[in-house]
Each structure stands twice: as C-alpha cells, then as structure tokens.
C-alpha cells in the first residue's frame, strides 16, 4: 500500500471557488483511479489561496493483470465486419482465436492487460486531471498563450508536487514538470521548500507559515474572532460565510480587532455591517446591550511585526467607507421620500411595463382596492401612502451603493421623516417574504403593499408573455408567486385567486393570461406545500371540486384529505374507490349525477338485496349527505370521517356480492350502487387523481 500527495500550486485562487475546486480535484482523481480499477482507502483534499492539495492513502503499488475476451463475428462473416472488429479491439487479425459457438466457427479477441505500476498510472492521471479540470472562469497566460491551445487555469499555474511514498511521480503538463519542491508563505518564507512525502506535507508547510487545511484555518478565524471580541468585552456577530471567505484569502490567518469612531454609529447598523462585510470582509461586534459596537475584526495574512500598524491601516479604509455611508445617509435625508419618488419616473421597470413610477401607481390603486374591499384589513389611506413611497429608496444614494438595503433604507428614511409607523414598517418589509422560510408580513398595511406589489409583477409579466421557462426566471416570478401564496395563507385572505388576478390585470396587457397565472400559482402551491409534507396529488384531487375556492379553503381541504388517506380507513377506501371505478370503466357505466340522493334510476330495487349490499346502501344514505354538508361548512375533517364510515361496507360488498350477476336487474342495480359510491366519494375529493 502506498500514499500519494499531489499539490497544484498557482497564483491566488478566488476564495469563492476553492470549495468547488476541492470537489473537482477529488472527482477527477476518483475518475482516473476508477478507470484503472484502483481504490484509495482514504482521500483528503485541502486548499489555500495558492494551492490545491490531495492526499490519497492506501493505494496499491501496482494493478493486477487483466485478461478480457470479446466475441466477434463468425469466421464466415465478410472481411469488412472482421476488420472492424479487429480495429475496435485493437488486435491484429492473425491474433484472433477461433472457437465454436452453437456450431459456428467464431472469432474471439483476447486482450491481455498487463498490471501497471501505480507510479506509471499516476503519471498518466495527473496531466489528465489538470487538462480536464473545470473552473467557473479560467484564463491563459505567459509565453504559451500566443496559441489558443495553451493550458487554461483559474490563474497561472506555478508548480506541481507529485509524490508516491516519497518518490516523485514524473510527469509533464504544458511545460510544468512535477517535483518535490513547493513554496511557503508569500512573505514569511523564502526559497523553495522540499516535501518528503504525504505524511510530512502539512507539517513542513506549517513551518513555512502555511496552514494547508482550510478547516483548520476556518477554526483559527472563528475562534480568533470570538476571542478578540471577548477580550474587548464584546461579542462577534457570527458569520460563517465570512469565516470561509477569509479562510480562502489567507494561508496564515490572524484575526485582529480594531475600533472606529463612535460617530459612525449614527448611521443604520445594517449599513455598517454590510460595508464592513461586503467591501472589507470584516466581522462586526455587538456590545453587552446587543447593539452594534464601534469595532471590527479583520483577518490579516501575516504575523505582522506590529499588528497595530495593520489594524490602523484597516481602520482608515473602513473609516473612509463609513464616511461615504454617512454622507449618503445625510444626503438622502435632504429630500423627503415623496421627493425621491419623483425620480422613479426616470427608471424603466420593464420596457413593456413602463417605469417604476407607473408600477408604483398601479400598486397604490391595487392596495386601496384590497383595503376598501376589506380583503386585507388595513387602513386604505395609510396603505396607499405606503405604496406610493415603497420604491422611493431605489433612487437614494445609499441603495444605489448597497442594493441589498432596498426597503430597509426606505423604512429608516420614512421613520426619520416622522411618517406613521404602519407606513414605515410597510416600506421596510414589503419585499418580504423573499424566499421560503423568510418572515411573512402580518401587519395589515404591510400585507396589502407586499401582496399588491407581487401581484402586479406576476400578472403584468404574464400578460406580456414574459413567463419563466425551465431554469430561466429573470424576473423572479416564481418567488413572487410563492410570496403571494405565503401572504394569502398566513393572513387567511379569503379571496379567490381569480379575483386577485383580475384586479391586478394591466389595462394594456393580454386579457387572456388569467388561466396561465392560475395554473402557475397552482404549481407554486404544490412546491410550497411540498415543504410542509403535502403531496401534489392531494392538491390535484381537491382542485376539481374547489375550482371557485380561495386558497386557504383549498389547503384546508387538502390537509384533511391527506390526513385521511394516510389512515388505514383512507387507504382502504381509496382501494375500494379504485376498484369500483375500474369496474364502472370496464362496463362503460355512466356515473349517476345525483350523488346524495337515492338510486338515480328512480326505481326501487326489484329484489331483496344481500346483507352486504344493503349495508352499503344504508351507509351511503347516511354518509353522503353528512359529507356534503360538512364540505359546505368547511368541516373537512368531518367530511373525511363520513367517508370513513363507507370503508367497511365497501370492503364487505366486494367480498360478498357479485356485481356482474346473471340477473340483469341485479347487475344494473349494483353498478348504479357503485356509481353512487364513487359519486359520494368524488364529492369530497377526486380520488382518481390520488396516486397509490
């Protein structure tokens, strides 16, 4: 058994690509080994900004010899076929063996694959791995780039270490020869470092100020940031994404805490956090009161002679950024949101849907309608005011700089202006819910603005045939659809989608998009409810009997149905239903359109029914009206309980009664009875849509 080390050194790999690169290296290495039938007992992949490393332990030192046989054409076959077979298998015609197969002389090719030394196998694998490596973006460089064919890598490749049990695996890729030397830290180490093998790789690099294991670096950053904050009497605001990013930017991470001027804390904390995180990759801290503190933690890549110098440099950069943020914060407040909103007339929302100002106008009208019709219980005047101002922050300097702060900044500016809290909250939160799991607004004014904004977007784009297709959803309509459903369900908005869609329709758009939008929302509903464990076929089973219903009613009915189907009674009733409807289908029997009534033929039964038959008739007489009234009154569990009483009688009926009796009267009566049964069940849900 042997241990293999591969290090691919290059100029700084973007932090965000390192995780994918590790997976790619592992995948390609496994591919190469699988192709030779070789398995490592243990595989480790590491990354730093300047290298990817792979250690494979427990590799065999050589592969076994393999003998393979391939059956060819009969000896009598045309030359063409025989030559083709030889080419395909890479053997000379003279080397073919002849054997008898079912009495016919047949050619066989015997291919002997000799065992291969692991060293040779790896020497061939490394260039293949490098050549096939896929980066999100790659580049050419240097003298070789005079040709299009030159090697592509994420940044210039600078060296390859390949050692099998300490012995160099010799290979050459685009002018790079493998060896045993690498480089240490860019500034803390000079000259080449000699690696003796997989076992001492990490330690040798550590001596050269490189921590090659990305997890270890992440741990140092995570713990170091916590400690630095604690030492200053603060708590670091945890941010795992930032930990990973800083681990991808450093080979020798040193978290350092610095302070900025208190004055900057006047600007909204989200702004400070965002500029620190996005622009500078700093952590921020909270004081004992849970409020943002005037501190930041940067992660240096050196053990600096004097850390205070590094901290001070970083402080200055952050101060300049915060000064910009404060400048924007103050400048933006020189105008009211209503004044800012005028600027929306200059911003195109979509070429067919007009400017953002046009959109705001539509949303404001829709919001007023929602409140005046009492669909949402918000004050119509406040709701319209919020709607008219909700997009104004898009033209502020702050949101221009930090688009992620849309809504939030509008909320702050509205509060600063002294607008009613319902209005500022609605401006702040009207983009919510942004995804599944995000908070769903419940304040009525916010609900109205959020719902109207999303409806206007969804309906408008569909009316102009800008629907999502496949993976393409450039206007995030799926998210808008999910948002609408979440708002409607969380706030128990009892209006049909049809009414909402009609109210949101754009005057100039296609009038025929309603059906598409409804279908789209049903698909979204299935996606959304899947998260809650609701099956899509349950939704399909309820929709035909609830075509005019509001979404809350549909979902309540679906939930009751699924709970019922998951009981033993439900499962068996479903089986009974399927059996009954199969018989009816086979006999081409028309289902009677009178599910709650008596025998639809109007005839009394001319014979004495069998016990099980009578029992089913009685059960239906009792259950059908109960289920029907329960459905009307939205007591869906009761409707299901009524159906449950049919389970034993239908099972007994199939057990004891022959439907296709020789007596034509009996046959007709029994088929009608089954039709009554399926009708009664279908009145609660279309069981034919249920799977299983």
């Amino acid at each position: 058994m042997a241990d293999f080390l591969l290090e691919l050194r290059c100029e700084e790999i973007p932090a965000r690509m390192q995780k994918g690169a590790r997976a790619e290296l592992e995948k390609l290495f496994r591919r190469e080994m699988d192709a030779s039938g070789v398995k490592a007992s243990d595989l480790t992949v590491w990354s730093t900004p300047r290298r990817l490393a792979l250690i494979a332990r427990g590799l065999p030192t050589a592969t076994e010899a393999v003998r393979e046989e391939a059956k060819g054409p009969p000896v009598a076959a045309p030359d063409q076929a025989i030559d083709g077979f030889c080419r395909k298998n890479g053997v000379e015609r003279g080397a073919l063996e002849v054997r008898e197969v079912k009495g016919r002389e047949t050619y066989f090719a015997v291919i002997e694959k000799p065992g291969q030394a692991a060293l040779d196998l790896l020497a061939a694998a490394i260039p293949a791995i490098i050549r096939d490596f896929s980066w999100p973006k790659s580049m050419r460089w240097g003298d070789a780039s005079i040709s299009n064919e030159s090697l592509k890598w994420v940044r210039p490749l600078s060296g390859i270490v390949a050692l099998l049990d300490g012995e160099v695996v010799p290979c050459l890729t685009d002018g790079f020869a493998s060896g045993r030397t690498t480089m240490g830290h860019r500034f803390h180490s000079s000259g080449e470092i000699v690696i003796s093998g997989a076992d001492d790789y990490a330690d040798t690099l550590r001596d050269a100020y490189v921590i090659v294991d990305h997890e270890v670096r992440a741990g140092i950053i995570r713990e170091g940031a916590r400690k630095a904050a604690k030492a200053a009497g603060l708590t670091v605001v945890e941010d795992e994404g930032l930990v990973v990013e800083n681990a991808g930017l450093t080979e020798w991470p040193v978290p350092l805490l610095g302070r900025f001027e208190d004055d900057f804390l006047d600007v909204p904390p989200e702004t400070i956090q965002l500029t620190a995180r996005v622009n500078q990759k700093y952590f921020v801290c909270e004081g004992p009161d849970g409020k943002l503190a005037n501190a930041f933690i940067c992660t240096a890549n050196i053990a600096a002679d004097d850390p205070a110098v590094v901290v001070d440099g970083n402080r200055k950069v952050l101060a300049a950024r915060l000064a910009d943020a404060r400048f924007f914060w103050e400048l933006d407040q020189k105008k009211t949101l209503a004044q800012h909103a005028k600027g929306l007339e200059r911003i195109t929302f979509h070429e067919k849907l007009g400017t953002v100002a046009d959109k705001v106008d539509r949303v404001a009208k829709l919001v007023r309608w929602l409140c005046e019709e009492d669909i949402v219980k918000g004050d119509p005047d406040l709701a319209e005011q919020a709607a008219r101002l909700c997009k104004a922050d898009l033209v502020t300097e702050m949101v221009g700089e930090f688009p992620e702060l849309q809504g939030l900044m509008g909320g702050y500016y509205a509060a600063k202006e002294g607008l009613p809290v319902e209005v500022s909250d609605a401006i702040r939160d009207h983009y919510k819910p942004v995804g599944q799991g995000d908070d769903v607004p419940t304040a009525p004014v916010t609900v109205a603005v959020s719902l109207a904004d999303k409806l206007d977007t969804l309906v408008g784009f569909f009316q102009y045939d800008e629907k999502p297709t496949g993976s393409k959803d450039p206007f995030a309509l799926r998210r808008a659809g999910l948002g609408i459903l979440a708002l409607v369900l969380s706030n128990n908005i009892r209006t049909t989608m049809r009414e909402l869609i009609t109210a949101a329709a754009h005057a100039g758009g296609s009038p025929d998009a309603g059906r598409d939008i409804a279908g789209f929302l049903i698909d979204r509903l299935k996606v959304q409810q899947r998260e809650a464990g609701i099956r899509h076929d349950m939704i399909d089973a309820v929709l035909p009997v609830e075509s005019d219903a509001d979404t809350a009613r549909v979902v309540a009915r679906v939930k009751a149905l699924q709970s019922f189907i998951e009981t033993e009674n439900g499962t068996n009733l479903l089986a009974g239903y399927k059996r009954a409807s199969n018989i009816l289908k086979k006999e081409k029997w028309e289902a009677p359109k009178n599910p709650s009534g008596k025998d639809p033929s109007g005839k009394d039964i001319s014979y004495t029914p069998e016990t099980a038959e009578k029992a089913l008739i009685d059960a239906l007489d009792a259950a059908a009206p109960k289920a029907a009234s329960a459905v009307t009154e939205e007591r869906f569990e009761d409707a299901m309980s009524a159906l449950a009483t049919l389970r034993a009688p239908i099972d007994a009926f199939f057990e004891d009664v022959t439907v296709n009796d020789d007596d034509a009267d009996k046959r007709e009566a029994r088929l009608n009875l089954l039709a009554r049964f399926t009708g009664a069940v279908s009145n609660v849900a279309d069981f034919s849509k249920i799977e299983g």
């Binding site: 580049m139 050419r140 070789a144 780039s145 930017l249 940067c298 200059r346």
Partner: protein, 310 residues
C-alpha cells in the same frame, strides 16, 4: 578656460515623503526591468487602459513592455475639492507586460517594496477582481491588491481586447498613485500629500483645479455643444476607419467616451439613453481595434508563424 557648468548633485529620492519621488522610483524600477517609460497620452481619458500603449499594443503577437503615468478624468467623481478621497482628475500608474512574465507577481511586490511598502509590516493580499470593459470589447482575470484592506492596485491578465483573444496574454498593473501615496505618507487627505521634498503639496498643485473643473463638469459645460461634439467625434471616427488610419479613429473613440462622461456629469442622459450611448462608444472603440488588428495581421502573421488573429 572653460567654465564647467556643474549641476548640483541630485538629491536622493524619498518615495515615502514625496509624491513625485514615488513616481520616479516606479519609473526607475520598471525601466530597470525592461519597460519603455512613456509619457501620458495627450488626451482626456477615463483610465490608463485607454492609452494606446495598453489597448492597441495588447493586440498582436509582438512583445511589449511599457510603464507610464496616465492622468485620468472621472467627471462624476468631482467633489469641488471638498472630499479628501475623491477627485475628478487623478493619476494612474500603468505597467503593461506582454507576454505576462512568470514572475509578474514577484516583480510587482518588489516595486511596492521599492516605494516603501514592507510586506511584513503591512498585510498585502490578492483579492479576486475580474475586469471587463464592454466599451473596449475587453476582459481579463486578476485581482485587486489590498494593502491593509485598501485597494492599491488593479492586477489583470488581459484575455480579450477589441473582441480579439490576446495572443499572447498581457499582464496589466494599474496603481492608484494618490491612494498609495496617502498610505505611504500617512496622510488622511489627498490635498495634504507632499508633492515634492520642497514643501509643495498636492493641494497646492491641484486644489484650485478640482474646484473649477468640478464646477465646469457639473454646472457649466454647454450640453448642446457636448452633444454636437459627441456626434462630431463619432463621425470623425468613422471617417478615419474608412480611410485605414485606426489609431486616429481610436483617438476619436476616446474623445467620444470622455464627452459621454461629461454628459453624464451634467445629468442630461437618462437611464434608458445611457445604454445606447455606451453602445455607440463601444462600436467606435471596437471598430478602431478591429481595423487596427486587421491592418496589422498580415505583418504579424509573417513574423510569428505560430500566431493567428482568430
């Protein structure tokens, strides 16, 4: 008897205390590393990348190593001399190395050391930052170089220019001179930078310029004239392309680009129009580059048989 005119001995350069010494030190460094030291292009432009020594020389197979200071104009960044970090006119130091040498990062770090940045005192980092100029039909991969969290240099491996693959690839370094100097000299306002070792500050040289030019850019330029100038440059560019003088055409593209920036500063270009103007500038710049490459391609192909334009 001849009177010997003896010049006084040259004082030692101190890049840590003089803006001009920092520039001269960079010149010394890159000259010693084989670069042609050029003077700025004599036109108003938004970035050193617009210099023909960068754009046009990035095309074709011939080696090219050059360094120069390029004054850059960003009309919308003007702050009337009131912001310590923002200027509508500032300097970039450009180095273009083609093909990109394998030790280009080390060379760059040595140049920082030469002007007084010690990498064991300051945290130097290469942070992903790819570059794209739709205007020039150009893109490249590289980094912004951080010094204690501050971006001091843009470092790019050009992959395409004027819509053509760069064969070979050129490495481009763009130092933000004022930022670097502020850092090295330890001042918080650009106007407090020592320009030389004789008491002249950056403010002495440029403050009045910033005040007047900010006013001109934001308030004074006659927008009707600017629109006309834009169209004139556009027309002239086409004329030059049609007559096979792409360098002259390229200059008109640079001119149009700056006029467009002035129109932006005057706030007379709407969001919708913006994209259309940018498209027009792009067509001029790319048309010039294409013409240049097309004219030079036969000569290049003859000298470098392994090379092809596409």
């Amino acid at each position: 008897m001849d009177t010997e005119l003896q010049s006084p001995p040259l004082p030692a350069r101190d890049p840590t205390r003089s803006f001009q010494d920092m520039i001269l030190t960079l010149h010394d460094f890159w000259a010693a590393n084989g670069c042609v030291i050029l003077q700025p292009y004599d036109m108003r432009m938004g970035a050193g990348t617009f210099h023909t020594a960068t754009t046009l020389r990035a095309l074709g197979p011939e080696p090219w190593n050059a360094a120069f200071v390029q004054p850059c104009r960003r009309p919308t960044d003007g702050r009337y001399g009131e912001n310590p970090n923002r200027l509508q006119h500032y300097y970039q130091y450009q180095v273009i190395l083609k093909p990109s040498p394998s030790d280009i990062q080390e060379l760059y770090l040595k140049s920082l050391a030469a002007i007084g940045v010690d990498p064991l005192k300051h945290d130097i980092r290469f942070v992903e930052d790819d570059w794209e100029s739709p205007t020039l039909g150009a893109w490249g991969l590289g980094w912004e170089v951080w010094c204690d969290g501050m971006e001091v240099t843009q470092f790019t491996y050009f992959q395409q220019m004027g819509g053509f693959d760069c064969k070979p690839v050129a490495g481009e370094l763009t130092y933000g001179l004022e930022r670097l100097a502020m850092y090295i000299q330890g001042v918080d306002s650009v106007y407090d930078l020592a320009f030389n070792q004789h008491g002249v500050s950056y403010g002495d040289v440029f403050l009045e310029n910033e005040r007047q030019m900010s006013k001109a850019n934001f308030e004074v330029f006659d927008t009707d004239l600017l629109f006309k100038k834009f169209e004139m440059a556009e027309k002239e560019c086409r004329n030059q392309i049609d007559n096979d003088v792409p360098i002259a055409a390229y200059e008109e593209a640079v001119e149009a680009s700056h006029i467009f920036n002035l129109l932006q500063a005057r706030g007379v270009i709407s969001v919708q129009e913006r994209a259309s103007y940018m498209g027009r500038v792009r067509d001029l710049a790319r048309g010039s580059c294409e013409k240049y490459a097309e004219l030079k391609a036969p000569e290049w192909a003859e000298k470098y048989p392994e090379w092809s334009l596409i």
